[in-house]
Amino acid sequence: MSQPRTLFEKVWERHLVAPQTDESPAVLYIDLHLVHEVTSPQAFTMLRERGLKVRRPDCTLGTMDHSTPTTPLDIPIMDAQAAAQIEQMKRNCAEFGVPLYALGSAYQGIVHVIGPELGLTQPGMTIVCGDSHTSTHGAFGALAFGIGTSEVGHVLATQCLLQNKPKTMAVRVEGSLKLGVSAKDVILALIAKIGVGGGTGYVFEYCGSAIRALSMEERMTICNMSIEGGARAGMVAPDETTFAYLEGRPFAPKGEAWECAVADWRTLPTDEGAVFDAEVYIDADSLEPMITYGTNPGMGMPITGRIPDPDSIGDPSQRETLIKALKYMDLQPNAPLLGHKIDVVFLGSCTNSRLSDLRAAAALLKGHKIAPNVRMLVVPGSQQVKRQAEAEGLHEIFKAAGAEWREAGCSMCIAMNGDQLQPGEYAVSTSNRNFEGRQGKGGRTFLASPLTAVASAINGCVTDPREMLERV
């Protein structure tokens, strides 16, 4: 019998063009390379300068999402720099033969939303993108991680990456989630527990009964934020939920090839007795809706909690970090966040902009109006999500409540495209980063689930969604 292996090890070993040695990292073959307009231009320039081609345009896909406006598509792009970057993306893809779902395409959207919905993301694959939230695709049992622009160039030119083998950490989530507690709360709780550096050097494998019970979109929400805990990748073993999601999607295998693929994918889950380098446990039953109070995703707490007091922290540099964060956020130690007034609610991003997120949000919002002091942006993750949501009439619910229904893209998650907070404003956001200025210079972000975001929009202040759900 061969050594029991983890899911990660199986996928890693399948893709070794050359193994790691004492002198050199492993050469890892990449099955799918996703490219977007912000982190690729300098890589294409490098190819041009060195006279290189894209080795596998058929394993490469471009989209536009980060700097694209989410205003109606017939309005021209007002930001000259963004427009130039978008034009450059078109030229680069055309010149190098890379297929592109440009702005205006029916399949355009956030790179981590379109890969899975098109069926490009499949179990056992290696997937990279010049974007740290590539970890999202690990929900299918793929090894997927973000890379820098130099590495984008490496993959374009050779379809390979030089990689040192990471360590593995099992994230075991057992039990069942209570009403009002969602996948987003699971991942925020994990990051609050291990800290933003806790997973550095590791690949997470999320396992346990609570993970098994999640839909694919919920698993994507969790894997998406692995990087916020420092892990470059997070994976979930493929199972019937995975296969049911994939079957019939445009790029998924068909007919006999589908049967073969599924048979192969069934061999991927971690073997009984396989050893992880580290393990962390989360009790799903005891989780509450989570919210962040600070300026990194590790500064999170149950929504009913109180903001920590720097005086109670022994480590001086941690204390300084918290003092600085609370100053930026203009929040008081020991105060609750519940009831804190907000200005903006952002429902979107590669963490929470899929159809199930919009459905959950709309179900809670239906029949309500958002508070008059609140601006709410709803930004679907892709054009496909947008069309599906509209077919279900979800956009009417959002609009009737007073929210803005916008075109697909990253939008206020990264605030590159003009969708941004004003200095001093508070937002409840379903995105993944609450760094200083992330959603607009001087803006202040509370990260939370779509349910918490909607409940807070209705009340105009941070609100526990369970109060409203229990009333329904």
Binding site: L32, P99, G148, A157, T158, G197, E436
Partner: protein
């Protein structure tokens, strides 16, 4: 790329933990298609006020930082977004090394690809370096990549770990892509042995 030789510099101390790449260079500066000129955007929102005037109390605006090559940062440097622009901005300002207790994985990779040295030291050395800057801001330390050492003014040398392959490339002044391009035959053999993969060229219409 130029081979990296030993160099000495003052330290620029930025004692903040978990400095993420959104702070190193805010996203609105990423709408460029080049890697040039990003030094001006380094730590922009900490460095300039709302009117765009330099904040005199921020270290990069002080004489200490001008012409210095080594950034001494708080624990866990470079988390967050994969933007390589963070490395280009640090280099654009003149930095050739960053010292911290640890680095986020993607940042470390990006830095090594560009010849910016991510120098990881233990918590005690880290603390000593901060007190050194406080007591004698003009003090220079030397960084020797070949020996993998930071050499302090009193002659004490502190070793730092670095990926051996990246170290070799940086000492020889060669980039890593050349190594991969030389593997073309093995890559082709791998592709022949593993033919199953998606085809993104499939027309969805």
């Amino acid at each position: 790329m130029q081979p990296i030789r030993p160099f000495s510099s003052r330290l620029v101390a930025l004692p903040i933990e978990n400095i993420d790449t959104d702070q190193i260079i805010p996203a609105r500066f990423l709408k460029t298609t080049s890697a040039e000129g990003l030094g001006a955007a380094l730590f922009y929102d900490w460095r300039y006020d709302a009117q765009g005037a330099p904040r005199p109390d921020f270290i990069l605006n002080q004489p200490q930082a001008q012409g210095a090559h080594i950034l001494l940062a708080g624990h866990n440097f470079g988390a967050g977004s994969s933007r390589e622009h963070a490395v280009w901005a640090l280099q654009g300002f003149g930095f050739r090394a960053v010292i911290s207790t640890y680095f986020a994985d993607i940042f470390r990779n990006n830095a090594l690809k560009n010849g910016l040295l991510p120098i990881q030291v233990d918590a005690e050395t880290h603390r000593q370096l901060f007190s050194l800057v406080q007591e004698a801001p003009e003090t220079e330390v030397q960084i020797n990549l070949e020996a993998q050492q930071v050499v302090l003014p009193d002659g004490r040398a502190v070793s730092f770990p670095i990926d051996p392959f990246a170290r070799r490339c940086l000492l020889d002044g060669v980039d890593q892509l050349g190594y991969l391009l030389n593997m073309a035959d093995r890559i082709a053999a791998y592709e022949a042995a593993h033919p199953q993969r998606v085809n993104t060229l499939l027309n969805l219409a």
